[in-house]
Subunit: 274 residues, 4 copies
Amino acid sequence: MAKSTFEYVKNFEVDDTLLPNTWIVVRLDGKCFHKFSDDHNFAKPNDIRALKLMNYAAFTILREFNDVLMAFGQSDEYSFIFKKQTTLHKRRSAKLLTTMTSKFTSSYVYHWEKFFENDLLKYPPAFDGRVVLYPSDENLIDYMKWRQADVHINNLYNTSFWTLIQKGKLSPSQAEKRLCGTVSADKNEILFQEFGINYNNEPEIFKRGTLLMRQNMLFNNKAKNIIVDIHDDMLKDKFWKQHSSLLSLKQKEINLYNGPTTDIISEQTSLIIE
Amino acid sequence: MAKSTFEYVKNFEVDDTLLPNTWIVVRLDGKCFHKFSDDHNFAKPNDIRALKLMNYAAFTILREFNDVLMAFGQSDEYSFIFKKQTTLHKRRSAKLLTTMTSKFTSSYVYHWEKFFENDLLKYPPAFDGRVVLYPSDENLIDYMKWRQADVHINNLYNTSFWTLIQKGKLSPSQAEKRLCGTVSADKNEILFQEFGINYNNEPEIFKRGTLLMRQNMLFNNKAKNIIVDIHDDMLKDKFWKQHSSLLSLKQKEINLYNGPTTDIISEQTSLIIE
Amino acid sequence: MAKSTFEYVKNFEVDDTLLPNTWIVVRLDGKCFHKFSDDHNFAKPNDIRALKLMNYAAFTILREFNDVLMAFGQSDEYSFIFKKQTTLHKRRSAKLLTTMTSKFTSSYVYHWEKFFENDLLKYPPAFDGRVVLYPSDENLIDYMKWRQADVHINNLYNTSFWTLIQKGKLSPSQAEKRLCGTVSADKNEILFQEFGINYNNEPEIFKRGTLLMRQNMLFNNKAKNIIVDIHDDMLKDKFWKQHSSLLSLKQKEINLYNGPTTDIISEQTSLIIE
Amino acid sequence: MAKSTFEYVKNFEVDDTLLPNTWIVVRLDGKCFHKFSDDHNFAKPNDIRALKLMNYAAFTILREFNDVLMAFGQSDEYSFIFKKQTTLHKRRSAKLLTTMTSKFTSSYVYHWEKFFENDLLKYPPAFDGRVVLYPSDENLIDYMKWRQADVHINNLYNTSFWTLIQKGKLSPSQAEKRLCGTVSADKNEILFQEFGINYNNEPEIFKRGTLLMRQNMLFNNKAKNIIVDIHDDMLKDKFWKQHSSLLSLKQKEINLYNGPTTDIISEQTSLIIE
């Protein structure tokens, strides 16, 4: 029963250290979430409970891993961006990837009830994940813009699609046909002209997704570092100028938060006040 | 808001297709499970509820993924072995790794109550994972033997250690000192001479871990394929001869199961009978 | 001028160790050899001097690297197969790849005159290379068959093409047109019926490429290990049965060579006799 | 003889595309050049013929591959830096690596006589190579500084070592002992006090290695782009300021060369004038 006879099999493990001085992005996606959302009667086109659960699961990641700089989520996907110089798990790819995937999944299941209350989780969901490296700040910013542009495109489509079905009484295939070939302006027009819906007034969490990052808040004149959930427009360069210290290595200046007190924020501030 | 301007960032994703015609092993490990098991009052040296939950989570994987040939678990780790010729997710490494990690984690949290009943899960646990390739059957068999030899070594140590504490009233550091430098025979002797414990009579799930695989069972003279949880001695070549069709590509002959009806088995047979 | 300030850049080098217990194949290909062969007036469809130079360059590799088990070449490409258990350069991919590429290129230029005599090398040629891993003997054998089948297909085509031009007085585009859509039997027929050429009688080095491997030869009743250049039919399983010890790890029995004394062989035997 | 039966082996080739938007560095090193330089009676500590051959081989690379931005060489090593946005060979690692290695080796052997004249090349030399990625300009600059600091350290040591032997009549082991534990200042002192050698007056090609890059030269008032071989001090930030356009993506301003007309330069200018 000499363990050492077999231990040579350890040599088949490969080194998967990620290139230093690059931005590490881990993106998670719900597996078969089309079916999962049907099975759990998610509201269409957006279920606020489901989005809040996603955000909360991501929040638990940022709370636990100081090396995660920010996270951006929409629908059933979430991206986690590590600090550029992170040496967490020696930058080993599989270790970082699975830790994020497992912790997120675990939190999603664990905190389900907090958001869905009596609508029970019928079976365990799963997320898959990938790691992507971005060498420059510009590449990373374009990644963030890419994901947020994706929210816009999908949400405008989905809002139009489900409005045509729910209020316009079209069948799904009729709605699809109606939207085929339309551009953004057309969809805005349909929503406004036919259903009196001004897309601009839709909730920002739907239109822009959610960005989690650390900012300062004042408590009795002392700045405390908290994780905030915001829905800012990352497609505008103004955003990146405002948050220029975020991507810089020195990161001396942390922006002061002056947005609304969300559930995620109040959970943290209640602990500070105590 | 042209998504296409940013879409170039997709080109930074790398192809991680795994070498064809090799055994793919995904091994998961509990993260900080020393603390987790303390926080949840796991019995020492083995908590049968925790082991059964691990096995059940692994069982849900085999039930869902026909391309997982077998799985072996012990303590807070589980290894999943894919069919050698699997093309699941096009053999993409991150996809296979995260799917296993996420599904296992999700099941672990979801089914906690089934095994721990009123002992609530206090916070979401996490598992990390890795992928290893083994080119030959011999390498794979040595991998399985390596993990099972590990169970033996750890369990004999832990059984001795905790017996010295629980029955021998030693402190942890005294127990550690007592065992320092001892070989297997010494530990067996301590258990037997001082505490009347015959290590050979310890439950096989503790001594050997659990192997999940598919076998046939007869129902009304018809063979039905079920997933069985067994504790056979994989260190003996006899085991691999008996299961030679398991690793062969043809796999025409599936062994007939004639062991006890475990919970995992009865859950499946109850569905067949209905 | 502290070197240590900059030495961190070494950490950007990645580990590229190749999976143990797999067959490592390095295949080299001439770069722009269409132009190179025109510039050096290579005979069409085969230039025996060019093929012999390729073989000789490969021979210098086998003579120098005992860990190269065999090599197979045709036209402007050569494949080198390492012993399965080789630990040369710790199995680091780039190291093995570039060593083979550089040594082969170097020998090709250095020994040019030996084969081309007064036809001078007009400029330095280049070869590119790749590394491929094969887990099983069957995969490796299929690789060798793949390359040899390629020789057959290309050579039959090229022989027909150039015969139509050289003896049939067709233009290249007429010859191409004539061969378009033909199968092997058609090409054999054209060669035989129209030009009286029995393709089977073509030199084996043209039809089958060249395999370099180590065999034994008797000198004064003592077996000496030499590198032989042969043109056997590797598509036949008989070949692999005859050479079964080649791929086996034990490799106790080395076949006794009883073919013709080629230039490569006589270069070695002359040294033994001295 | 169906080739297609075996063609599946192509699927074992892996995609080795290098991360976009990173600096690709290929570094070549002479294999066993200690022995090679002895076998060819290289002058010690520096053989100007050998250095010029290295530079010339590198020059043929820059002349042929417009995507190679610059190259830096010393002793028996040479580094090639590709343009950051290069898509040569689709950024496939093995392809870039072997093309550089093979072309360099080929040129080295081919042009040997040009520099060594009647001192014949006794056997084919070899170089190995590696690929390293650098995400930022700062990382790349530090790489260049690292290699040039290396020249300084090695050359001061070697100059002292061989002076102690050649002029001081010490044995190699005595010279080694004498230098053991000395810092740069000590070595400068030994050279100056004992042998009247002012290290600062040593040729810059020995002290700093050779950098190849493209600059403009005026011919009849027209700027022509030529490859220059210079020995500037890259450890000074002044150098990188002067050549800031080199690393920038736009690279509109190309520096005007005003150094000496080296052999490499005159070879190019003679073609322009003709």
